[in-house]
C-alpha cells in the first residue's frame, strides 16, 4: 500500500538532473544524479560537497562519486543550496 507519489519514483525522475542531498550529519552534496539502488546508494557527477564545520562552510569539488545511502536524510530534486542560506 503506498500513497499517490512514490518517493523512489520521484528520485527516479530526477536521474540526469541536479539533486541536493542532505545527510544526517552537517554535510550536504549537490550533483547530477546518474543512478541509485534500493538502498538509495547513489552515483553522482560533478559533485560539490558542502560541510559545516564549527560554523564554517567548506566546499569540495569531485568528479564522480558513489554515495553510501546509509546516512542520507533528505533528497531535494533540482535543489540549489546556494540559493538557500543555512
Amino acid at each position: 500500500m503506498a500513497g499517490r507519489l512514490q518517493p523512489l519514483e520521484l528520485v527516479d525522475k530526477c536521474i540526469g538532473s541536479r539533486i541536493w542531498i542532505v545527510m544526517k550529519s552537517e554535510k550536504e552534496l549537490v550533483g547530477t544524479l546518474r543512478g541509485f539502488d534500493e538502498y538509495v546508494n547513489m552515483v553522482l557527477d560533478d559533485v560539490t560537497e558542502i560541510e559545516f564545520v564549527g560554523g564554517v562552510r567548506r566546499e569540495t569539488q569531485m568528479d564522480q562519486i558513489l554515495l553510501n545511502g546509509a546516512h542520507v536524510c533528505i533528497l531535494v530534486p533540482g535543489g540549489d543550496p546556494t540559493a538557500v542560506g543555512p
Binding site: 500500500m1 500513497g3 512514490q6 533528505i74
Partner: protein, 109 residues
C-alpha cells in the same frame, strides 16, 4: 500471527496534510505529505527545515530554510506527526515535576 509486511500505521490518512518529520541525528522538517512507501520513505511538498541551535544539535530554533519538494529517507525518520498536533510544554522530567506528579498520584489513590 500478524502479517509482517503490513505497516502498523497507515500514512494515507495524512496525505495532503502538513506533517512534522524528525530524523535520527536531530534534523526536523515540516511539509505537506504527498506520498510514501512501505519502507516509510516519504514525499513532502513545500518543505521547510527547522534550523538547529549550533551549540545543541537536538534543540530546534524558530528559524527555517525552504527546501521545496523533497524525499525523506524512511531509514532516518524517527517520528512523523500532523504539524498542528504539537505544542511545547514545560519539562515534566525535572525532579520538582516528578515529585509533584507522585504527590498527585498519592492524593488521588
Amino acid at each position: 500471527m500478524s502479517k509482517s509486511k503490513e505497516n502498523v500505521v497507515d500514512l494515507g490518512k495524512y496525505i495532503d496534510q502538513r506533517v512534522r518529520v524528525k530524523f535520527q541525528g536531530g534534523r526536523e522538517v515540516d511539509g505537506i505529505l504527498k506520498g510514501f512507501d512501505k519502507l516509510d520513505n516519504v514525499v513532502l511538498d513545500d518543505c521547510v527545515e527547522y534550523i538547529r541551535d549550533p551549540n545543541d544539535l537536538y534543540r530546534v530554533t524558530d528559524r527555517t530554510r525552504t527546501l521545496g519538494l523533497v524525499v525523506c529517507r524512511g531509514t532516518q525518520v524517527s517520528f512523523l506527526a500532523p504539524a498542528d498536533g504539537m505544542e511545547e510544554i514545560a519539562n515534566p522530567f525535572t525532579d520538582e515535576a516528578v515529585a509533584e506528579e507522585e504527590e498527585n498520584i498519592r492524593v488521588e489513590s
